[in-house]
Symmetry: C2
Subunit: 403 residues, 2 copies
């Protein structure tokens, strides 16, 4: 894309995404291939008053060599200096922009699946989840198009076409993207208000091989992509189309089929089917790479229980592109989904401030992983169920049924 577009995008991530405060430090996580955007973000950060911009580059090829050639202990071990950096983002009151966009999605296809399934850098992943997903700092994830991603998604390394799709999804095709984002977030805000007024006891997904009921807690609170720390809002995902809630970790029963490929550990899980009993995953099958999921849900006690239920309707710009992005940031905003592992924090503020042990006791799941997978689509009906057992249709053929 043209430099002027990169600059507009970088400014959007800094001003709307993490909503940077003057004098704050800005941290950026990126792959080497994302350097043009990371550099634009650095300059946009200083323009917005950043005290400092700190960029860390990851390298998929170096990671792949580790997975292929190192011991499992080394694959599981996060570098302590990177764990230190993740903690420092919180300590220094920083903001975090993570750039997504796999530069080489097929790189691990020929590596021993046993090795690919080994959990990566466990302590580091846990610390990153604690800091970002735990809303210890203002953070956002956004994507940068790479040739490898475009090749995987479109069948050719057409970065320009992928860029156009991304730009549409993040409202960069609007004259005033910041204003468009304010209006978009207001719509999602109204949707969560309507859901919270219903005080649902459970959500049911059914159709096309799926029949799953997930229980909610009295303290569950529907939220959307606009988070807030000390009264200052930020947008954790760009794009964001979902409304989501933290379920009861003890109540999920039935079977659910993934409706999109799931990129995980650098590979892609296809044809995923998961069975739940009393909140816990009791069976995992897949046409490809089932073991990657099986190993991940065995990492800790909370990994096999749900941390998120999210609803997306046909109004989604991501869904409207008609594309499968092979990237959770996009695909989770194209369709309804659930996540096993760490709670997405969609509970009342009082509960959110409790420590992990107290949250677990109340039924709010805790884990060192958090993996979303898509379960929605036009053939899946979604209902709310209230405490008295009445059924409230939420989605039919992907069309929103409330208000």
């Amino acid at each position: 894309m043209a430099p002027v577009e990169i600059d507009r995008y970088a400014e959007l991530l800094v001003r709307v995404g993490v909503n940077l405060e003057a004098g704050q430090e800005l941290f950026v996580d990126a792959f080497v291939e994302h350097a043009p955007l990371a550099r634009a973000v650095a300059r946009a950060g200083y323009a917005a008053g950043a005290k400092r911009v700190d960029v860390h580059y990851d390298d998929k090829y170096v990671n792949a060599a580790l997975v292929e050639l190192a011991s499992s202990e080394e694959i599981e071990r996060g570098a302590s200096w990177l764990i230190g950096r993740a903690g420092e983002i919180e300590k220094r009151g920083g903001a975090l922009i993570s750039i997504a966009g796999d530069p080489a999605p097929r790189l691990l296809d020929d590596v021993d699946p046993e090795r690919v399934a080994i959990p990566r850098a466990r302590d580091l992943t846990a610390e990153r989840i604690r800091v970002a997903l735990g809303d210890k700092v203002r953070w956002t994830i956004a994507a940068y198009p790479t040739e490898g991603w475009a090749e995987r998604m479109l069948g050719s390394p057409d970065v320009e076409r992928l860029w156009d799709a991304i730009a549409t999804c993040v409202l960069l095709d609007e004259d005033d993207p910041s204003r468009a984002w304010r209006e978009h977030l207001a719509r999602l805000d109204a949707r969560t208000e309507a859901l919270n007024e219903l005080a649902l006891d459970a959500v049911r997904f059914h159709g096309a091989g799926t029949d799953l009921v997930v229980g909610l807690l009295p303290q569950s609170l529907w939220r959307y992509g606009s988070h807030s720390i000390e009264g200052r809002p930020f947008v954790a995902n760009m794009p964001t189309e979902e409304v989501f809630v933290t379920p009861d970790r003890a109540r999920a029963d039935g079977v659910v089929r993934s409706t999109r490929p799931l990129p995980l550990n650098g590979t892609v899980v296809e044809g995923l089917e998961v069975r739940f009993r009393e909140g816990k995953i009791v069976g995992v099958d897949a046409g490809k790479a089932a073991d990657v999921v099986r190993k991940q849900v065995a990492i800790d006690e909370g990994a096999a229980r749900l941390g998120e239920v999210a609803l997306v309707d046909a109004g989604s710009r991501v869904g409207q592109t008609g594309l499968t992005f092979f990237n959770t940031l996009f695909d989770e905003n194209a369709a309804c989904h659930i996540a096993y592992g760490q709670s997405a924090g969609a509970v009342s503020d009082e509960v959110g401030e409790l420590d992990a042990g107290a949250q677990t006791k109340l039924g709010v799941n805790q884990s060192s992983v958090h993996t979303d997978f898509m379960i929605g689509g036009p053939e899946i009906d979604v209902d709310g169920i209230t405490a008295d057992g009445s059924v409230v249709p939420l989605l039919r053929e992907n069309v929103w049924q409330l208000s």
Copy 2:
């Protein structure tokens, strides 16, 4: 260059450069633009038995934004997570390969020279010097050609021509580069033996506006690029053509002119002239960017005193290319040079093992900086002076005069 050449080069850096032990961790420092070599080094590392390969990428453009737009405090502050990583290389008994090759040598040309002159990341630089230059770990610096560097050096982004020059300098044009390196190092070994037998009291450089006498210590020991830790050798610089010695920090008198441009802090100092009295720099002039040197020699007490004297003759492959590389790794191996700041460690082993305070008392300089600049050339005569005052010619018209 062709992938096969990158792989041969990476193998040379791993096997001859840091001489990696099986089971050791390998750390790599690189710029984003060096990713192809960093990736090849990662695979060569595992092939040589590395337990893990850890790559950190720096970004000249992000650094330039910091220099241009952040406060001087932030420019001077090293990120604590990078300081932690530098220390960890020692703690984990790792080896370090640093990849040089400025991707954008002119990037700071339009930035306020006052800002460019601010010392960068002081604590980080000091820790890196302590760990690597202090031979706490086996380390090597080698170069990767970038378009920006080729443009600066050759006037066009001819990366292939720059690669050919690098390959010649590091003996990759030999059938068996490892063997060629063994023979090359044996020649430098014989040269240092001859110098050490002379037990010189001082070295004198004179000609073309330079007249400088630098005193040596009784414990000064001429060394060359092959270092050794626990009996296992490594080559700290590739290429390496110099023989060098740590001088007496209290004895340097006269004036010296730099014979090549000096790249420093991302800019280039030209026409440098430095005056010494009783070991200390008492005057710095330059046609361009003198302030960058002035500020650096004021950083700490040792910055204005010498830590290294090095001799290079006309047999140097680097010199034979006839090119100015605008890169110290190469240019210091094309001509005689001196360095202000930290001792290069070319003292007897007993003295090398003393702490910094004890070394300073003996006359071995300590500093958080170490900057080489070229002072040799065909018009500069170099003499050794023994304790009884007799003069031993060392170089005439760049031709070695001993044995």
